[in-house]
């Protein structure tokens, strides 16, 4: 499947700001889509579309911070760059604590925004690559039989085949066969790689 192009989504209720940002991004070769409100953006946002978000903090209706909260609830990981003409420290801290990628006060230099957008796009690409990687691992995990999964869990805890055999009440030879199947299905070249895969899909502490 062909990757979708990265898009910068600009959400700002000010027509002039939207137009100038669209022109600026276009001049830098970046595809941009604009929305005049949080509701407009949310109604047409497709989570499969990669990119980043440039979001005004103060908008009528749903504010930028409220929209960020909504995106968090929806599990959207797209980097958010807040822009505001009326920023203060508590507002910036709240946005960053909620996971904002950056927070920029107006007026800002064009290059400042472009630099941050470029970094946000890189971050989004990295996030999506990581997600694709963990999705593949989960698919492979789903292909294991219950017994193979048990063997996987025990060997990635550092247990030797003999100990695994003892824990499961089977012969060491049986463990070796299951282990070989696990390595094959997980497409792992070594135990270390298998451990890394399990760490990648482990829930965060």
């Amino acid at each position: 499947m062909k990757d979708l192009p990265q898009t910068v989504f600009v959400v700002d209720d000010d027509d002039a700001v939207r137009d100038s940002l669209r022109m600026l991004l276009k001049s830098a070769g970046v595809h941009a889509e604009t929305s005049a409100s949080a509701q407009e953006f949310l109604s047409r946002y497709d989570a499969s579309q990669p990119g980043c978000l440039v979001l005004d903090v103060r908008m009528p209706g749903m504010s930028g911070l409220e929209m960020q909260h909504e995106l968090n609830l929806r599990g959207v990981t797209m980097p958010v760059i807040f822009i505001t003409g009326h920023g203060d420290i508590p507002m910036a801290v709240e946005a960053m604590q909620q996971g904002a990628f950056d927070f920029l006060q107006k007026p800002f230099r064009d290059q400042e925004l472009l630099d941050r957008v470029q970094r946000a796009l890189v971050r989004d690409a990295e996030n999506r690559a990581r997600l694709r990687h963990t999705d593949r691992i989960r698919e492979r995990l789903a292909s294991l039989s219950p017994r193979e999964r048990e063997v996987l869990d025990l060997v990635t805890q550092g247990k030797a085949n003999k100990m695994v055999a003892g824990d499961l009440g089977v012969s060491q030879r049986t463990v070796e066969i299951h282990r070989a199947h696990v390595m094959q299905k997980m497409e792992a070249g070594s135990l270390a790689e298998l451990v890394r895969m399990m760490m990648a899909v482990a829930p965060s502490p």
Binding site: G87, I89, A92, V93, M96, F103
Partner: protein
Amino acid sequence: MLRPEMAGSNDNGAAGSQREAQRVRTIIVAGQSSDRTREVLRALSGFTNVVWPTSLESALAQMGSQDAGCLVIADDLREEPIDEFLQEARELQRNLPIFVITDPDDVAEAVSAMRHGATAVIEIPPSYAALCEEVSRAMQ
């Protein structure tokens, strides 16, 4: 919120043990800060152990030797490389709450501190109530 009198509490049982666990953890306050801020920070001594390293370097050393509950970076250290320090501190103790006290309205500095690992940024002069609330939450 923690109360100063908890420091001297002799309660028994689970609640007492929990308070005891909170009591022995250390707040590291890096820098001496302005007079007004210092007064507020000194008030933290009322409810737990507080150490006062005068530089970021010595704060890092304290982090290694103390059972740190949280770290407060006072506003007189702004000439020091706080962003680098925050990154280093995060590598040392990933989950340690770190509060940076900064100039009011310096949003760029606050954002930078947050990006580099600060838990929150508090404007000077911090109110005693706000600071205690943040620190209490962190110590729990």
